[in-house]
């Protein structure tokens, strides 16, 4: 795969949230507003980049039998480092995200990329893949967070759009997360299916 294709694969074709439906715990729980979603997405992306790089570097040193525990150790270490750094330097964000930063360890997106990509490819390719997947995850989270904040609170990134005019509180509550995610999934699938159909019709002609 070319570098561009690797990047696009993670970002759009196999988007972790909307196509693979991975990492649902943070995607549903932390997307109550766009700022939290962006913070969570960037934290996950940085862990993903570092763990992908590290795992592709050590892939020949790791016996196949214990590769999963070793990957977990690598990922958990980076998550703890991110947690400590965020605690020291971005105190407010660290406060709001709270429990969900340590939970990045069990985000199956990160484990999945380590097992499916980084353990078989060169360090450079792994970074590209991590960037694509990570940004795809961040984008999906921000989209989800923005929709929920807009309908639940009337603002995006804290900027008032329509204030109190059309607020459905349910969008900030957990059911709102499922409803928004479902609608967005349906929309992206619809776009995907229509594209496929058009491509087929084009091929017939």
């Amino acid at each position: 795969m070319s570098k561009m294709a690797t990047f696009k694969n993670g970002l759009i074709t196999n988007n972790p949230v909307f196509v693979q439906v991975l990492g649902m715990c943070p995607a549903l729980a932390t997307t109550t507003n766009s700022t939290n979603a962006l913070g969570m997405g960037l934290a996950s992306t940085s862990v993903l980049i570092m763990s992908n790089l590290m795992i592709s570097l050590i892939k020949n040193l790791v016996p196949t039998k214990i590769r999963i525990p070793v990957y977990i150790v690598v990922i958990a270490s980076f998550v703890t480092m991110i947690d400590l750094l965020m605690h020291g330097f971005t105190y407010e964000l660290w406060k709001t995200l709270g429990l969900f930063i340590p939970l990045i360890v069990v985000n199956c997106m990160i484990m999945g990329r380590a097992e499916a990509f980084a353990s078989k490819n060169t360090p450079f390719d792994s970074i590209i893949d991590a960037l694509g997947t990570g940004l795809g995850f961040t984008g999906a989270l921000v989209l989800l967070g923005s929709v929920r904040e807009l309908f639940g609170n009337g603002s995006i990134f804290g900027f008032e759009i329509w204030g109190e005019a059309l607020n459905m509180h349910a969008f900030i509550l957990p059911p709102g997360a499922f409803i928004t995610l479902g609608l967005l999934l349906a929309m992206f699938n619809y776009i995907g299916i229509r594209k496929e159909k058009k491509a087929k019709e084009g091929a017939k002609k």
Partner: protein, 206 residues
Amino acid sequence: MKEYLKTGFVLMIFTLISGFLLGVVYLVTLPYIEKAEFNAKLQAIELVLKSSDTDEFLISKSPSSEEDLNKVIWKESDENIIYKNSKNAKVFSPAYKFEEDGKEIYILTVSGIGYGGDVISVISFLKEDNIVNMNSIKVIDYSQETPGLGANIANEDAHKKIIRDAKSNNYMINTADVLTGATITVNGVAKSIEIAVDFLRNEGVM
């Protein structure tokens, strides 16, 4: 057998290396973390030193360093907790007391059980002409509360409603009015205000 030992050894090496690296990162970030925590605490104390009616400082010089704070310690305990009740609400050490122009201001760090654990607040009481009233409160630790729901307790609006209720309604907080859908979090704050009042009564302040 030999293979198991070998793989175990390899895993041990990996955990040792990552443990060492984590130790290094911890040591590097420790001063920054302590500074961030202390700044948050100082900001909270500064905030509750302002009158909640007029938004002006109740004393002429607010503390700006650890030394300033150490001078005004009123009650402290080695166990970190000065007072505790059956509902697991706590008053943490140290408690501060500021005195100026016949006014006494008591600042306590209190906690009550919220939705996911302790909700910690800094709370101030003003004693003027022998009448003690709650002045202000600032919730400082709500990290176990749900983002978007209970975590909204950090909003200024929620604080204002809590202070309003505590002042006008004899410390009875109308939990549903403060935050919709996060009654338990507000309840935690209400319990922490209760214990602060209890504590001051026990100490003979009010």
